[in-house]
Symmetry: C2
Subunit: 404 residues, 2 copies
């Protein structure tokens, strides 16, 4: 298949380029390298050293014997998007070209506006280019489990059937996101749902859990194939931050009571799942939603697992809860469905502890890079608008608090 | 109270300025006059002649003996919004400063992006300015009944309680909007809901039905107080277009089968309802949703009522259905709640036929202005992306078709 990846230079994007290349797909990608700039803006960098796109393209060519078709440009520019869709004629368009950070969106009004307008505009441009130049293509759009929030009931995959005053109806499951970023993903989901309806397009909207890890099945032992791994407060997801903390002996830092439950997913499995979606498009016009994660854990359980994986590798770290910079439920019901990808054949590659060990081993080679940016491990972007580093909590050990 | 109106030059905005002024409120308003430009872009103008803001301000001063505080500027510019909120210190902020047209948003990718990013950005700017400079203010945000779409069940006011797999929960009622514009209002509603939650703000989100009419209770017989009245495909709402059609002897034009049911509301009652919301803010931090309309009718019933009101005034017009440029259910269940405003004291001023007669009388004085732009009465913006005038339908007279 011809697969176009919007955001091919990112954490997921550069991984997917390789993974699809290894499976024999023809891959095209675009990027403006904004993610590199955003992380710099946060005072950080990738824990793994990342090659320039020029080096990456060279590595791709050496390995696969053919060019990775790459467009440098702005996905907010319709002319740019239209031209590349016309030229490449993709069978699948994977949209990883959004700004993916809740804290980044919560910094101030300018970042809130940037994240939402960037994410809405890039999605519109892809939808209109599909409509006008490649209506049979399949859009695979990266959303987030965070779109749903944490309602006190099971979370279905996108839609549910309910009764209200004696009438039953299949409805979109109500979203209750918790940041401007998470809402930007809901806005995108809503726009895509309408585009599929009125223009008969097909799309898979992927509600992805919290991804972690450095490895993918098709990675070669060549630094140019490393994908980025962030550990700053905005672009480092929970487990990725924990593992970087473990490597430099910094406490692992769940927020607040640490009982927030989330669906987690190794990067390796994310590649498997996205590929299952790409290779199994809906037959005709359809908007479908996949909840994409391996298992649900709370953020303290994940810290304990990282602690243990670290200990197996000789690293000693403690778990110390931080004041929660976010406003979110810290103890709540959470039971999301995740059947659609299993039905397509998704099988987790490893248990999470194995994946954490592999990751920590990767990161230990670059310990100095993490150490150099140690100060970014404590967040200061608060949901109430203040910008002030959070402090360590001394939790009273009750049934509700994390065990000692 | 000190009331700031974002979008004070528009159809609702200029009406509300007068209505609140007459009730003794201190009124401030901002506008960039974009609505005047958009209607020009559609090849049209207001059926009622509208004065410049300079003339309007002069008229306001002559009538009320004090200045209407007015800021000309762009609500997408945070510095502009912040400065005026700091200076005016409003008790209520009424957000009428969005682009309010479904067809305008459906024209092409650029209009889709413009409408959504404009509407999201202006709302963010008001929310952040409130948070930082006037957290006790009450935001009254104009949404639309179109946010809900037409689900096959009753529509509550914003939230409903449902059971799913044995657990009951109060959830936002799922939105199923039918245009990029309508989704922009949902995006705004979602953003405001979160802002109220994390910043303890208070807001009333007004799901307004289809407004029609030229008159408000506090209007003076001075042309400078006339508010605009649009009849082009993008900014003219159904009944306003029908009445303009009646005045020049053009057929009244329901779309498709003409059985689309909507909540309708005279402009006069919209002023009453918005004022009830403004004068009765939530006591503390709250996000509340009001469904704001007088009665539900289908668009053919409304055409028949305009036909009759016109006949009472000596105008003879036929009702002729047009091919539907939109993709929407043309016959459907529709039973939205509208209790909250009634509980606050909302009483319709007139029956709809009376309001239509008053409106037609106003418009008859400006018949030549409508005649001059006659060609804008037939739409050409289609939901499938084509730009092509729709044709008259010859409907077979069955039980489902409008009566001859």
């Amino acid at each position: 298949m011809r697969v176009f990846i919007a955001g091919g230079d990112g954490y997921l994007g550069w991984s997917l380029v390789q993974y699809l290349g290894a499976r024999g797909h023809q891959v095209g990608a675009a990027d403006l390298f904004l993610r590199r700039r955003w992380v710099e803006e946060m005072g950080s960098w990738s824990a793994l050293p990342i090659a320039s796109m020029r080096e990456r393209l060279q590595a791709f060519k050496e390995r696969f014997g053919e060019e990775l078709r790459f467009w440098e440009g702005d996905l907010r520019d319709y002319g740019f998007v239209e031209a590349l869709v016309q030229e490449f004629q993709p069978d699948a368009i994977v949209h990883l070209g959004e700004c993916p950070s809740a804290p980044y969106s919560m910094m101030d009004v300018h970042h809130a506006v940037f994240v939402q307008t960037n994410n809405i505009t890039t999605t519109f441009n892809l939808l209109f280019a599909m409509r006008d130049h490649r209506p049979q293509a399949h859009l695979v759009k990266l959303g987030t489990m965070g779109e749903y929030g944490t309602p006190r009931m099971d979370i279905p995959e996108g839609f549910f059937e309910v009764e209200f005053r004696g009438r039953r109806e299949r409805l979109p499951f109500p979203r209750q996101a918790g940041s401007w970023y998470h809402w930007s993903k809901v806005h995108g989901s809503n726009n895509i749902m309408l585009a599929c309806k009125i223009w008969k397009l097909r799309a898979t909207d992927v509600m992805q859990g919290v991804v972690f890890g450095t490895g993918i099945d098709e990675r070669e032992e060549d630094e140019r194939f490393l994908t980025r791994l962030d550990f700053d407060q905005s672009f480092g997801t929970a487990v990725n931050r924990y593992c970087c903390q473990a490597v430099i002996g910094h406490p692992l830092t769940p927020f607040g009571q640490g009982r927030q439950r989330r669906g987690f997913l190794p990067l390796r499995d994310s590649m498997q799942c996205l590929t299952l979606a790409i290779e199994n498009p809906p037959a005709g016009s359809e908007y479908r939603v996949f909840n994409q994660f391996q298992e649900v854990y709370d953020v303290t359980e994940m810290a304990r697992k990282v602690q243990k994986a670290g200990a197996d590798l000789g690293l000693k770290v403690e778990v110390r809860n931080l004041e929660n910079p976010r406003l979110e439920a810290e103890e709540h019901y959470y039971n999301p469905d995740h059947q659609h990808l299993v039905d397509l054949g998704y099988k987790p590659a490893h248990d999470v502890e194995t994946e954490m060990r592999l990751m920590i081993q990767d990161l230990m080679k670059y310990r100095a890079r993490i150490e150099a940016k140690r100060e970014v491990l404590i967040p200061d972007v608060r949901w109430d608008g203040r910008r002030e580093k959070v402090r360590f909590l001394e939790l009273v050990k009750t049934g509700n608090a994390p065990a000692g």
